[in-house]
């Protein structure tokens, strides 16, 4: 606005003209309004501060609640998936120790200890389907079946003089299944086996499985042919005859 005495520019809040010193009355209403708004603004700020101070504990508590909910959720997820985390860590470890592990694996294979190899592979979490172990894939699959066969035959044949055999029928059924499954896998994968870098070991595994059947179940080559040509009921009956009545 302009001073009506000297014409100089003055501010709306000036009480006197800074150039001519005249008392400015024309902006008195504006200045009163400004004073009112300032006071009102202070009151509003005070009220806001009061509301904030009342709500801050609730806000903090809500934030803590959200954080704890997330933390509990993460813990639950970790507990549910710990097995996979561990397995994954073990597999990474097996890749790191490839040289050591592959030397150990070779020792098992050279000794013809495929059950030991399977135990090694299982308990060191060898990731046989991924590089650098992926060439072991078929050998591992066959060794698992061979290992099951060895276990099944051990379980139905080795008893002390005062042994209690609580589930003979069930164990004999499992033994028949393990033998059948190993042989099925071998026959089923024959074309793959012939192209596998470890085919000699797999054929040796089959020879050992045959020897186990011969030594502990009385099945020589002719006997095995007859056994595998018969029905599952007859196979079970044969095993019962050999294991329970001999």
């Amino acid at each position: 606005m302009k001073c009506i005495n000297c014409g100089a520019d003055v501010r709306l809040t000036d009480k006197v003209c800074p150039y001519c010193g005249r008392v400015i009355k024309e902006n008195a209403g504006y200045r009163a309004d400004m004073e009112y708004y300032k006071r009102d603004s202070a009151k509003t700020k005070k009220k806001v501060r009061e509301i904030l101070s009342e709500n801050i504990p609730i806000v903090i508590s809500a934030i803590i609640l959200v954080v704890l909910l997330i933390a509990d959720g993460v813990l639950l997820y970790v507990e549910e998936n710990a097995f996979y985390f561990r397995e994954s860590a073990a597999q990474r470890e097996s890749v790191k120790k490839y040289e050591t592990y592959s030397a150990a694996i070779q020792d098992y294979l050279d000794a013809g200890d495929y059950a030991g190899f399977s135990a090694f592979e299982e308990y060191h979490n060898i990731a046989e389907w991924e590089p650098p172990y992926d060439d072991l894939n078929l050998l591992c699959d066959m060794a698992k079946e061979y290992s099951s066969l060895v276990s099944a035959v051990e379980e139905v044949t080795m008893f002390g003089p005062d042994a209690k055999w609580y589930r003979p029928e069930s164990d004999i059924r499992s033994c028949r299944s393990a033998i059948w499954y190993f042989n099925f896998q071998f026959e089923h994968n024959l074309s793959k086996i012939d192209e596998d870098p470890y085919k000699d070991y797999i054929y040796d595994m089959k020879a050992k499985a045959d020897t186990i059947m011969e030594v502990y179940l009385g099945l020589d080559e002719a006997g095995r042919d007859e056994y595998f040509a018969s029905s599952s009921n007859k196979q079970e009956a044969y095993l019962e005859e050999v294991l329970l009545h001999d």
């Binding site: 135990a119 379980e155 008893f159 042994a163 502990y216 001999d246």
Partner: protein, 138 residues
């Protein structure tokens, strides 16, 4: 609902969540501890039970993990070693018949070693010997 009520409820919920967190944390961290072998999967109690029942073949099968490098508690080591003994006897016969003289000899060496290490189990080892001898079909 007043602000005080909301605050009280949220504090109670926080205490419950914090308790759940504190209780679950050691378990979750324990689950994450990486070990090659979880001994509970090898079931030492089961091995002891089958030893009592003289089911040495089952003991052999259950103990196999130690032949794969599994580590077991010292207190249970003997039971697993008895299983290892039984399995090696079983396999030695197979290697012998299959013409793997070296493997059969390696089994024999380990069998003798276990016998030397466990003189207090002599009678039990004799029973295992007998169980394998009886299992062989001539």
């Amino acid at each position: 609902m007043t602000k005080k009520t909301i605050l009280s409820i949220s504090i109670i919920v926080n205490i419950i969540l914090a308790t759940v967190f504190a209780v679950s944390l050691p378990g979750a961290m324990g689950e994450l501890v990486y070990e090659y072998v979880e001994q509970d999967t090898i079931r030492p109690d089961t091995i002891r039970k089958y030893l009592e029942w003289e089911n040495y073949g089952t003991v052999a099968a259950l103990s196999r993990p130690i032949r794969g490098g599994a580590e077991v508690a010292d207190t249970d080591a003997d039971y697993y070693k008895l299983g290892e003994y039984a399995e090696l006897l079983f396999l030695k016969e197979v290697y012998k018949r299959a013409g793997n003289a070296d493997s059969a000899e390696a089994c024999e060496d380990r069998i003798s070693e276990i016998r030397r290490e466990m003189p207090e189990y002599g009678a039990l080892l004799d029973k295992i010997d007998l169980s394998v001898a009886n299992a062989v079909k001539e």
